[in-house]
C-alpha cells in the first residue's frame, strides 16, 4: 500500500482558457512506502508543503498527473469514482493545531468520532488503545476535551486519527506552539509509532532539529518543486543546496563544524544530530582524557 505520485501538479484556480495557470505544486514525482519510513518535508511558507500533504490523503485532487494509493488511482479523470473514505482511513492527516478540531462532550467520544465515521467496528477499544498510545490516562476519558491543557488537547486530537489505525500518518507542523517538554513527548511518540507500530510518518516542519534527529529521508520543496529527496545527511553535506534554499543546519552540526575548523580536526564527522553522538564523535577523534 504505497503512495506513488507521477507528474502531479495542483492549482487552486484554473482559468477557463487554461493559460497562465499558477501552480502550487508542479510536476512532482514521489514514492512513499507504507511502513517504517520517517520522512520530513521542509520548505518555506508558500513552497507547496501543505498542498502536497493534502493530496497525499486525497483531500485535494491533482489538477494534472495522478496519484496511485495502493492501486487506487486518484486523478481529475476519475475524481467521482474513487472511494475516498477507504483512502483516508489508511492515510491519517493531522492538521496544524489539531486541537481546534475537538468538539465532542468527552475525550473518549471525541476520539471515537473518526473511526465511527469510517464504519470501523469495536470503536471504543480502538479509541482507548489510541489514547493509551498518546499517554492520556483513563481518569480524563470522561472530561470535556476543552478542560485539558494545550499539550493534552493536541494528544487527544492525534489519538482521534490513530484510532482509525492508518498505516501512514501525516503531520503538518505538529510541534508548533508546544513547550520544549511537550514537543519532545510528541516527537518521541512519533518515533515510537514508527519503530514499534511500523507506521510511516510524514512530518511537515520548519525545524531542522527535527529533521536531523528524527527523520531518515527529507524532501525539500521550493516554489512547488521537489528540489531534494533523499538522505538527510547528504542534504546537509550539500552546501550549495542548503544555501540556495536558505535551509538551516541543525545545532549540533553547526557546533561541530566550528570546532572542526578551529581545531583543524580533518577527520571529525560533523553530521551528528544529538549531544551524545556529538560527544562520542569528539571523543573518538580527540581522546577522552582531560588535560
Amino acid at each position: 500500500m504505497a503512495i506513488n505520485l507521477s507528474k502531479v501538479s495542483f492549482a487552486y484556480y484554473v482559468p477557463r482558457k487554461k493559460k497562465n495557470i499558477k501552480y502550487a505544486v508542479k510536476d512532482i514525482n514521489l514514492s512513499i512506502g507504507d511502513k517504517d519510513e520517517f520522512i520530513t518535508i521542509v520548505g518555506h511558507t508558500g513552497s507547496g508543503k501543505s498542498t502536497l500533504v493534502q493530496m497525499l490523503n486525497a483531500l485535494l485532487i491533482p489538477t494534472d498527473g495522478c496519484i496511485d494509493i495502493s492501486g487506487k488511482i486518484i486523478s481529475k479523470k476519475n475524481e467521482n469514482k474513487i472511494k475516498l473514505k477507504e483512502v483516508r482511513k489508511k492515510i491519517g492527516l493531522v492538521f496544524q493545531f489539531p486541537e481546534y478540531q475537538l468538539f465532542e462532550e468527552t475525550v473518549l467520544q471525541d476520539v471515537c468520532f473518526g473511526p465511527k465515521n469510517f464504519g470501523i467496528t469495536d470503536v471504543t477499544s480502538k479509541a482507548k488503545k489510541a489514547l493509551e498510545l498518546v499517554g492520556i490516562k483513563e481518569d480524563i476519558y470522561n472530561e470535556s476535551p476543552f478542560s485539558l491543557s494545550g499539550g493534552q488537547m493536541r494528544r487527544v486530537a492525534i489519538a482521534g486519527i490513530l484510532a482509525s489505525e492508518p498505516n501512514i500518518l501525516i503531520f503538518d507542523e505538529p510541534t508548533v506552539g508546544l513547550d520544549p517538554l511537550g514537543k519532545k513527548e510528541l516527537l518521541e511518540l512519533l518515533r515510537k509509532l514508527n519503530k514499534e507500530e511500523h507506521k510511516t510518518i510524514i512530518l511537515v516542519t520548519h525545524d531542522m532539529e527535527i529533521v536531523g534527529e528524527y527523520s531518515k529521508r527529507v524532501i525539500v520543496l521550493d516554489n512547488g518543486d521537489v528540489v531534494y529527496d533523499g538522505d538527510k545527511t547528504e542534504l546537509f553535506k550539500n552546501e550549495k543546496l542548503v544555501k540556495e534554499h536558505s535551509l538551516d543546519l541543525p545545532n549540533n552540526v553547526k557546533m561541530l563544524k566550528v570546532i572542526k575548523e578551529k581545531l583543524s580536526l580533518d577527520n571529525l564527522d560533523i553530521y551528528k544530530y544529538n549531544t551524545y553522538d556529538a560527544y562520542d564523535e569528539l571523543k573518538r577523534v580527540l581522546g577522552g582524557n582531560n588535560e
Binding site: T45, P180, L181, D248, I259, G288
Partner: protein, 268 residues
C-alpha cells in the same frame, strides 16, 4: 523607584492549584526582561496581571509609582501594551492602516497625529508597504508585526509580548524579533516565551516554574544555571548540553572546545 514593581503576587483560577505563588521582582526603565517557563508555569497569567487583564488574588503591581487597581487601571493602561500569541485573534481593522488606527481612535488622538504615528510605527516594523492590505492576507510574521505596530502606536512605555512568536515559522520569528530588537533603548520590554534561544536578546531572565519564581539573573549567567532550568522543565541550549557532557565525561582539549562553544553562544 522601578518602572514595574511586582510585589508578592499570587493568583489562583477556580478549582485549580495556585497559578502564581508570591512572585516578586522589579523592572527598570529600558530593561528587556525575558520571562521563561513551561506550559502552565504561570507566565501568561503573570502577563495578564501586569497589564491589568486579571486581578491578583493577593499582592500588588505598581507601574511607574501607581498601584494597579480598579480606580487607576484606565490611566495605568496608557503606559502598557500587550502583543498576544495568535496574530489572528487581535485584528479588528479591514486594512493594516485601520488596524493600527483602532487603538488611537479609542484614545481620541487627532487625525494628523494619527497619520504620523501610523506612518512612523508601520515603517519601524517594516510594514509601511502593506498599509492598505487586508491583514487576513498577510503571513504570520507580517501579522505579528502589524500587531506590534498597533501596540507601539499607542506609545505606552512598557510592551509585553506573550509568546508572540510561538506560532510563527523561523522566518516569521526572525522578522518579529528583529522588530522587537529595534525597541532597545526606547521601550521597556517584558518578553514571555518557553524558548531559551529567544531570551538571548534580553538583558535579564526570570524563570517561572509551577507559578514560583525560581531564577532571576542576567541572561548569560542564567544559561549556566542548568539544573534550575532543567528542573523548570526547560530545554537548555544545545551548546550547554555538550559542555555539560564534556565536563561530566571528560575530553581532551575539552577546555578549548568549551571556550569555542561559549563564543558561539555569545555571538547569537
Amino acid at each position: 523607584m522601578s518602572l514595574v514593581e511586582v510585589k508578592n503576587v499570587s493568583y489562583k483560577y477556580t478549582n485549580r492549584e495556585n497559578a502564581l505563588t508570591d512572585v516578586s521582582f522589579n523592572i527598570e526603565k529600558g530593561e528587556f526582561v525575558c520571562v521563561l517557563g513551561h506550559n502552565g508555569s504561570g507566565k501568561s497569567t503573570l502577563a495578564k496581571i501586569i497589564v491589568g487583564l486579571l486581578k491578583a488574588k493577593s499582592g500588588e503591581v505598581i507601574i511607574d509609582g501607581v498601584t494597579l487597581n480598579e480606580d487607576t487601571i484606565d490611566s495605568v493602561r496608557q503606559k502598557l501594551g500587550i502583543v498576544f500569541q495568535n496574530p489572528d485573534n487581535q485584528f479588528v481593522g479591514v486594512t493594516v492602516k485601520d488596524d493600527i488606527a483602532f487603538g488611537l481612535e479609542n484614545r481620541n488622538i487627532e487625525r494628523s497625529e494619527m497619520l504620523r504615528r501610523i506612518e512612523y510605527y508601520s515603517s519601524l516594523v517594516d510594514m509601511e508597504d502593506f498599509l492598505d492590505k487586508n491583514p487576513e492576507n498577510l503571513s504570520g510574521g507580517q501579522k505579528q508585526r502589524v500587531a506590534i505596530a498597533s501596540v507601539l502606536a499607542c506609545e505606552g512605555e512598557i510592551i509585553v509580548f506573550d509568546e508572540a512568536t510561538s506560532m510563527l515559522d523561523p522566518k516569521g520569528v526572525k522578522e518579529v524579533t528583529n522588530a522587537i530588537k529595534k525597541l532597545k533603548g526606547q521601550k521597556t520590554v517584558i518578553y514571555i516565551t518557553h524558548n531559551l534561544d529567544e531570551a538571548l536578546f534580553c538583558d535579564r531572565v526570570i524563570v517561572l516554574s509551577k507559578g514560583v519564581k525560581v531564577l532571576d539573573e542576567k541572561v548569560l549567567d542564567a544559561f549556566k544555571e542548568k539544573d534550575i532550568l532543567k528542573s523548570a522543565s526547560l530545554d537548555i541550549l544545545d551548546s550547554m548540553k555538550l559542555i555539560e557532557l564534556i565536563e561530566e565525561k571528560g575530553l581532551s582539549k575539552g577546555k578549548e572546545i568549551e571556550e569555542i562553544l561559549w563564543q558561539l553562544t555569545y555571538q547569537k
